[in-house]
Amino acid sequence: MILVDNIHKRYKTNHGPGKWVLQGVSFVIPPNVSVGLVGRNGAGKSTLLRLIGGTDQPTKGHVERRCRVSWPMGFGGGLQGSLTGRQNAKFVCRIHGHEDDIEDRLAYIQDFAEIGDAFDEPIKTYSSGMKSRLQFGLSLAFDFDVYISDEVTATGDAAFKNKAATAFKNLADHASLIMVSHGESTLKEFCSSGIFLDNGKAHWFDDIDDALKAYKESRSK
């Protein structure tokens, strides 16, 4: 379960405090419910994911994680370009306290990512699709209750998307996903509920279809 209690967020700019990105966002994500975030570009979707993942702190309000939550995957975050995929994977295993079974985890990640010899090449030589594969494999190597994905499936090819979806369905009995995507079919495939972000406010919908409908209506206005 994740409790988001009245969070406000604004970033510092070169001209003092910026505009409010999120203004009084509250909701509760129950256990085992996968949620899709929809909203225009700049509506604060990635910001909200970062706050839920604990990567960033809200200006006001607080987030409570009553379960194991992954880091937000997406856009190469958390990978260091000069190091190889294997070295980055080792680092992530170690900070999650898996020094003992690091070989098993590495084998799992390498197997899931299917990037071949590139696993031992520096990340900066990777394509965006290869990065996505590595990131998704990395997070699936750990036993999280909630996985946070920021468009991580967007750059993968069809084969990878299928693989990710299958891997995810296998986890569905004890894990869930919070994801941002502009692909309607992706959202419908992975998520049951939805959050529509608009003007710094969040609207919760028990059904992802209703969230998508609300988003479409706001666009046509």
Partner: protein, 270 residues
């Protein structure tokens, strides 16, 4: 299907200390790899940089025909001063830039900004001690007297310089993130510290009252004390006090830690 994965033990989550220790371990190994193995001769540059610096200064001193400084040979005087100063300079520089270099890692909430700084200081101290040992052995091989007459004093000085580097880096790492153009200013300030620390300029030749002013620089106390620790014949400047170096270092470390506590969220967000 549940048997596919090792179940997480909810009754016994990792303690904060266990998380921090595993983060330090992971960061240390990661930093060591990127410091020493990225690029084919990364490790060679670690040695080449001080060798070139010392070589240039030695050339200048030879041209102006200065054979002895404060009772010891110019070579010994330069090498001891330069290496002792490195014990401050390397950790402080690495710590100062730790935040921008590790920004990608703050995606993992287990990694706090302060972790990257402490680990870098530790690794850099370790590397610099290795460099110092190599210089000590290499210099002795070429007939420069670098075997410490008072090893404990040398160790005390090196540790004090390292602490000072950590403290300085802790403070400046926050400053460069929060104040625009601070990096440029600190570049100039670093050059000033280098000159006023008695590394290339024999401070004993500076007349009073200016010499007294230079004694405000804690690093000067370190470089002079290291020379005394190596050679009993060295005439250190009057007023030298290792305790002053340690006092400054401890004040800087606590001030730096307080800054990090105060600006923790800002440093991640930027």
């Amino acid at each position: 299907m549940a048997e596919a994965m090792i179940k997480y033990d909810y009754a016994h989550p990792r303690t904060s200390l266990a998380i921090t220790l595993s983060v330090w371990n992971a960061l240390f190994l990661r930093e060591a790899v990127s410091r020493l193995s990225v690029g084919r001769i990364a490790w060679l540059w670690l040695l080449a940089e001080p060798i070139i610096q010392i070589g240039i200064m030695l050339f200048i001193f030879t041209v102006i025909r200065m054979r002895i400084v404060g009772g010891i040979s110019t070579e010994a005087w330069l090498i001891i001063g330069m290496i002792t100063f490195l014990m401050f300079k390397r950790p402080s520089g690495q710590v100062q830039n730790a935040l921008s270099a590790n920004r990608a890692l703050f995606a993992y909430r287990q990694v706090k900004p302060i972790d990257t700084l402490l680990v870098r200081a530790w690794l850099e101290g370790f590397i610099t001690v290795l460099i110092a040992i190599i210089f000590g052995i290499g210099g002795t091989f070429f007939g420069v007297e670098l075997i410490p007459h008072d090893p404990l004093m040398v160790v005390t000085v090196f540790f004090g310089m390292w602490l000072m580097g950590l403290g300085y880096g802790l403070v400046t790492s926050v400053a460069v993130e929060l104040i625009p153009k601070m990096g440029t200013f600190l570049g100039f300030f670093g050059a000033f510290l280098h000159i006023s620390s008695g590394v290339v300029l024999p401070v004993s030749t500076v007349p009073e009252p200016y010499r007294g002013w230079l004694l405000l620089n804690p690093l000067l106390h370190g470089t002079e004390a290291a020379r005394v620790g190596i050679s009993p014949y060295y005439h250190a400047i009057p007023g030298m006090d290792i305790g002053y170096l340690y006092k400054c270092a401890i004040v800087a470390i606590f001030f730096g830690l307080a800054l990090h506590r105060r600006f923790e969220t800002k440093l991640i967000t930027l």
